[in-house]
Symmetry: C2
Subunit: 168 residues, 2 copies
DNA sequence: TATTGTTATACTCTATAACTATA
DNA sequence: TATAGTTATAGAGTATAACAATA
């Protein structure tokens, strides 16, 4: 019972548990702050933030879905909510008539700007209070390769469609 | 426009983004593996794992809810599902007649044991492939204080029973 | 009176499959 | 035929508030 065939590195296990717990607690706190301050969910905030960080303020729907690990229909749903509030706009892509380009509006930018301070306050207070700046850098250095590694493996939102009816 | 009143440490910001993205991607992958291999959600798996790790194989409901950052009603719901499948049992606490003690069953332990290898495979493959053992230890060393710090702050989910040392 | 856990409810979110249109 | 996005649908999960029982 306590000696299963799979010998796990306890160090890894500890890191994994800590990561899960920390991100879970952080996520909860963020979710609440965003909700209270701007009526935003974390998902919608992420969408807005991604758009805002983009040079063009725009993204292709599928790309965005991939970036946030979402099904396309899920993104359509969230985009609909954001659009209804005037925070984003959708339009057919210029280069590809099949595509849809979602763009952040001025109101969207303003909202992000308005929430950011409180958002960062939560993040700073919860995540970085016990960490030095150097620690933060170390954390990034550790997680950045992991992120790239995870992104390299393609759990794409589009792949689900491909693997499905493709008996051909 | 590029000089808002809130000056954020870009290093911290990077660490935060990386953490969010990594944990999100990891969570998705885990969720899928647990579902495919055992029909478990991440939340239910966490409940079982917590119980299994406990010396007694048991926990008080509220304690468990706190541990997993859940509302008590949410835990009641999940516990109901687990109990229906014979993976846990609930009984009135011996010392406190108001309380309920939830315990993992043999079937529950067996299921956890059965899923663990695949689970760890996912975690190892996604999270630790780009990390050395030393990196993993560093990661833990960074996140452990954060976890404790977060735990020290009053959890929002437990607001209804927040009278710890406050007021009165 | 405060706390524990459950219930009832209402709501949000997510994924799947079918559908339209473009490539 | 394959891809991009939407829609319809259906199910799961969560929190809140009211409630019963115990401290």
């Amino acid at each position: 019972m306590s000696d299963p065939p799979h010998s796990v590195d306890p160090v890894q296990l500890g890191a994994y548990f800590a990561l899960v717990e920390v991100s879970s607690l952080l996520r909860h706190a963020i979710e609440q702050q965003l909700h209270d301050d701007a009526g935003l969910t974390f998902v919608r905030f992420q969408i807005l933030r991604r758009l805002q960080l983009s040079t063009t303020g725009s993204h292709r729907m599928t790309d965005l879905a991939d970036a946030i690990v979402f099904s396309r229909s899920g993104l359509t749903y969230q985009a609909g909510l954001l659009e209804k509030d005037g925070l984003v706009v959708r339009a057919r892509s210029a280069d590809d008539e099949r595509g849809v380009t979602i763009s952040i509006t001025d109101a969207g930018r303003a909202l992000v700007e308005a929430v950011l301070p409180g958002h960062e306050e939560v993040v700073t207070g919860m995540l970085f209070e016990p960490l030095s700046r150097e620690d933060a850098r170390t954390l990034t250095d550790l997680l950045e390769p992991v992120r790239e590694h995870m992104r390299a493996a393609p759990p794409r939102s589009a792949s689900s469609r491909r693997r499905k009816g493709t008996s051909t």
